[in-house]
Amino acid sequence: MKSALFGTAAVVSAIAFGSYQLAHAQDAGQADKGKLERAYAHYYSPYAQRDYPTRPLFGETHLHTMSSFDAGAFGARLTPRDAFRFGMGEEVVSSTGIPVRLSRPLDFVVVTDHSDNMGMFGDLLAGKANILADSTGKSWYDMIKGGKGADAAIEIIKAFSAGTIPKALVYLPGNPGYTSAWLDSVAAAEEYNQPGRFTAFIGYEWTSNTGGNNLHRNVIYRDGSDKAKQVEPYVTIKPVGSDNPRDLWKWMAAYEAKTGGRVLAIPHNGNLSNGRMFPLVDSLSGQPVDKGYATESARWERLYEATQTKGTSEAHPYLSPNDEFANFEIWDKGNLTLSEAKTKAMLEFEYARSALKNGLLLERQLGVNPYKFGMVGSSDAHTGLSAMEEDNFMGKTVSQEPSAKRISEAFIKDPSGRTIMDWEVGASGYAAVWAKENTRASIWDAMQRRETYATTGSRMAVRLFGGWDFVDADARTRLPAGVGYRKGVPMGGDLSRAPAGKAPSFLVAALKDPIGANLDRYQIVKGWMDANGKLHEKVYDVVWSGNRKRSKDGKVPSVGNTVDLRTATWTNTIGTPELIAVWRDPEFDPKQPAFYYGRVIEIPTPRWTAYDAVRFGVKPLPGTRMTITERAYTSPIWYSPS
């Protein structure tokens, strides 16, 4: 009966829109009509026209909603469903009542609420009284009662880091509140996933944060609810869970074994791990990283979230003093809670570039490179809103949603006096994926093969191909990607066994965000290990805008700056819409293992703080960064001698 009604409805609507149909039929002709119907029948798939991906898909792999205990305490009221709707380009109303919409839809979104205490916030609100029997709980209670919910949220995060959350508030798998929060998250992804048009992934964040040291990972499912529902997400709280990544990897293996599904994990914020994210000595066991650790890390963690609201972890100026672009949105005062200060010795084990280098060293020692990861960016927003454009930045937390105050308030404060201000939070970033189709399977597979890049919020299209036979003319063809795939491997791939007398060549290309700023330059960052096991890095300017000449030190001078802070505007009168070139490594030694990744830099544009200053008519604090050079980091291509 229902289908009959629906069928009738279909006929009615077909008649109602008959004029379109007629026009299309006349226009297309009989032969094409069948083709068009086929195109529509399975919904269109513009990417299927070639046997390689032709446009990058932009998305979010790290987003919290009110189901996350800290987001809820911060005042987040948006649900996973709201988060997906917003990602699809719909207008939603933020937790503080601001109507908000993206400049254009995202192609995919993963909602990654914290597995620990998932759904706990709702029950905290229910006011289980046993929290009051605990002195910590009592003090939060008083804070919330005194109208200081945001402060309480920070306190809760700190307590979580310290493992001192009152037992009554610990939510574990199997707990009805926990289970229903997880099932709801899964159901939301199922409802909003529209293959070919918008991909809603199932996922969660495993939030290992012992001592405030960030070892967080986002777990992303290739699967649908049939598999994901069979096992509840892994937590860090003992005895059910663990704060050790090795145990997460075991859980991932168990999930795959039980369900036949696939999951991958993406670590983030090495910059807040205080030397623990990419260790040579495992901080949890105190033992040097062994072959077991390396194998499992390489197996499960194929990507790293190199940029997000809490700073960018590609490179640090201390580690890369010759890289004039390394000092970008750096957070290096301490760990996540600022409870422990940062020392310079920690930095090497926190940043992507040094980890990629140490990976080469560990590969020589262990036979496996544990840090062979590609790059993505994402927001880590706790608002349900993946809004990471400088002129449309909805903040990291609800307390940072647009207001006249957010430019001058403190975000995290430690009794020691260490403070991170709200203005230091970045409007970053997104994950770009070269997938053929906008489906869970296609995007997940591209992540698994590391054919991805990170952006700090801009949507530029970036290519990187490595091979042995690229010639300059390849950069002038009409279909550079066709040549790239035919003659080389894309970002995330491997080169080995250099042909005699040849150095690797790279076809690099970048196209600006169609509604964003022009590009300054495309650089290749090379890291390598010499015969003595010594690690090196070098940044090469490969192609840049205009007629700038390299200076004596080999560097290309600055592109300039058109930003007008009084109006928060810039012009595309400098830079270029597109950069494309072929580059050969001038210092290649076939006996030395190496990696090469692309870094694309935009011309300077107003930072979100500049838009806020103009829109709210407020004065920034001294030292506030007001301009930014957005950028993209590609996954590396590795060269191994054997």
């Binding site: 839809p105 037992k167 196209l511």
Partner: protein
Amino acid sequence: MHAPVRVERVSWFGRISREPLVHFLLIGFLLFALYGFVGGGPRERTINVDDNVAATLYAQFSKTWQRPPTADEMTGLVESYVRDEIFYREGVTLGLDKDDPTIKRRVSQKYATIAEEQGASIPPTDVELERWMKQHPDRYAEPSLVTFDQILFGSPAEFDAGRRALAAGADPQSMGEGRMLLPHFELYPVDIIQRDFGPEFARSLLSVRPGDWQGPVRSGYGVHLVRVKKIVSGRVPKPSDVRLAVTRDFEQARRERSLDGAYQQLRRSYQIEYSGKWRARQSQ
């Protein structure tokens, strides 16, 4: 032997059953029992660890570990449950749940959930879904498809030169700047054109007369010559193709409507009295 004992008992019972103090105590006890039975609450001193509770604790453990808890582990889980329950009840007895903003909000949320689900018991009919779809045509519309060629030029001068060269018979493949933009797009959806080229380009493209090379058409990259070969206008999909999305959105809207309706109705039955100095400050 049995009989005298029975007689003696009856007489003892008979004697005290006539005592007023006993009556008083008995009534007190009955009241106490009645209160406990009807009111439950703070004086309820029984914690039932029945099969339902045990099953929940059991599931909690085994869902994570993918094995059942051992007897020791199960004992620990039960002990922790009992402890929570006792503290919770004692807290409620002390009135710790009163005037607590977080509890107020939670109860309000629970009420909102119930209000949202009013009218949600009946699944939407096809007619309702169809009507919803008609009311929101843009949300489900399949976009127009465009087959076109494009050449990007970096500046108006280059564009002019390009147009002249093309008129003189130059090969379009040999011209222009953009390499990463494909030169040819086959039945490409206009919403993706918007994302790839910017909204201005997408708008212009739809108004280009199909046939020969035309321009300038501006995009976020520069100026283009375009040749539109075919435009297939967007259309409304078959309801059966978008049924899931329509149902999802319909239900979402119904929840929002129910909630708002419930609030408006209740709001009318309350009188809100504003007083105090804050109002004057507010209007400053």
